[in-house]
């Protein structure tokens, strides 16, 4: 059983890290639900704090769901490389004969699967709560799926830069937030436009472009940042 030939090639590190991180995530279920619970609570409180009026909520719904999804992602970012840094796995990752690009990619993918994807899937339910018109559901799903994936990737750069700082949470938010703004603008705009009956091809195309760019560049920036973080 133990004599299986190790996965060769570039994807060896990817597959190994992907499986390992998914396994760890499955064993830490409490941590997984944190961003989701935050998302749920925050969106639930808005009608109570602002106004339960249907017309007001309909107007606010796309923006609120998007902003809260962004904050939920931000909340979960700090742990992306933290435990690997603390227990020495990060050092082992850096010096293993595998492409670090794919290892980082695997970690980000798992992060998205356990934070961005659940938030995306929960969003239509919360849209219902905020009386989002029916035309908005599908654009909300698609824009959030593209947007949270970009945000996980961009966030990985910030998480990698701040991983060696004891209290890097605030700094991480400051680094990452400006980069999230374009994603938020186009994401919320897609839902808003769809609700008003407009075409949203442009917004989704831009979100897709962000994601494509982030897939190519963010892991490279993140692995450079990880090398800097472990240098000290």
């Amino acid at each position: 059983m133990g004599d299986k030939v190790p996965v060769a090639g570039l994807l060896g590190g990817f597959v190994a890290s992907f499986r390992r991180d998914l396994l760890i995530a499955a064993r830490h279920k409490a941590e997984l639900t944190n961003p989701l619970v935050f998302f749920l609570i925050a969106v639930t409180l808005i009608p109570l704090g602002v106004s339960p009026e249907k017309s007001v909520l309909t107007l606010l719904a796309p923006g609120i769901v998007w902003v809260m999804a962004l904050l939920a992602t931000l909340l979960s970012l700090d742990g992306l490389f933290r435990s690997d840094y603390d227990d020495g796995s990060l050092e082992q990752m850096l010096i293993s004969p595998q492409s670090l690009y794919f290892t980082v990619m695997a970690k980000v993918l798992v992060h998205w699967l356990v934070s961005g994807l659940p938030v995306t899937l929960l969003a239509p339910v919360l849209g219902l709560m905020l009386s989002l018109p029916v035309e908005g559901y599908l654009p909300l799903l698609v824009s959030l799926a593209l947007g949270t994936a970009s945000m996980s990737l961009i966030g990985a750069v910030g998480a990698a830069l701040t991983v060696s700082l004891r209290k890097g949470g605030l700094l991480l938010s400051l680094i990452v937030m400006p980069l999230y703004i374009p994603v938020l603008i186009f994401g919320a705009s897609a839902v808003q436009t769809a609700v008003q009956g407009g075409a949203i091809g442009m917004q989704l195309a831009v979100l897709g472009a962000f994601l494509a760019l982030a897939i190519v560049l963010a892991p490279i920036a993140a692995l450079g940042a990880l090398r800097i973080s472990t240098n000290g």
């Binding site: 190790p6 590190g13 499986r19 064993r27 227990d87 020495g88 850096l94």
Partner: protein
């Protein structure tokens, strides 16, 4: 000079004029050491002398040094990929995920680095037979250390870089580890380690970072208590 001596003339690992600074404090400088297959090198020096910094620089984790590190005659940034496949680093932090079992931890290592023996055999070799599926957070500090040490059994790497490998393991474990290090050298490996313990390995060489005095004429490479250093230079 005989032929066999010219064959080993290319050291497996060579440090040329290596120096490290930390917070504008010079830890060591001008380190010239040649390490050959079959060597065990103990890096000595008091706390804060730069032992860990040196090992991290050699392992490729830290690039915060000046000078050159050569692997099989090639400078390291260029030969980093080959070096990564041929080296094993065990630091202060064991690199073990506490949420996972020992077998799952080693599975991750094996998938990235390959393995010479099966994971169960490696765990049995460090005395963790029967603990394969126990979550690591239930293991003691010494057992956690042993999970990390199981990599030594698993790995095919020739160069071992061990930072305080004897921490937290019992007396029997220490003697087993010493035997393992001796075996690695007998098989043509190279072991660099830091330890405050007195080791009983016959082939042990010391590099003391504290009193390190670079000797530039090339007849001796400045090792603190180099027993057979001259033989290497023929």
């Amino acid at each position: 000079m005989t032929d066999s001596e010219t064959e080993v003339a290319c050291p497996l690992l060579e440090l040329r004029n290596l120096g490290c600074e930390r917070d504008e404090r010079l830890l060591f400088s001008g380190l010239d050491v040649q390490l050959f297959a079959g060597d065990v090198v103990q890096i000595g020096g008091p706390n804060g002398a730069g032992k860990t910094t040196l090992l991290r620089a050699i392992a490729g984790i830290s690039t915060d040094f000046h000078g050159q590190i050569l692997y099989a005659g090639q400078p390291l940034p260029a030969a980093a990929w080959e070096f990564a496949g041929d080296s094993l680093y065990l630091g202060h932090l064991p690199g073990i995920k506490k949420a996972l079992t020992p077998a799952e931890n080693l599975e991750w290592y094996k998938a990235q680095n390959g393995a010479a023996i099966s994971i169960n055999d490696a765990l049995a070799a460090v005395g963790l037979y029967g603990y394969e599926d126990t979550p690591c957070y239930q293991l003691s500090a010494g057992q956690l250390r042993r999970v990390a040490l199981a990599r030594l059994h698993l790995s095919r790497a020739r160069i071992w870089i061990l930072d305080e490998p004897f921490t937290a393991i019992d007396k029997l474990g220490v003697s087993q580890l010493e035997a393992l290090i001796a075996r690695q050298c007998a098989q043509g490996g190279l072991v660099m380690l830091t330890s405050h313990q007195d080791l009983t390995l016959p082939q042990l060489r010391m590099v003391n970072l504290q009193d390190y005095q670079p000797v530039r004429n090339g007849t001796k490479n400045g090792l603190g208590s180099l027993i057979d250093g001259d033989a290497y230079h023929g």
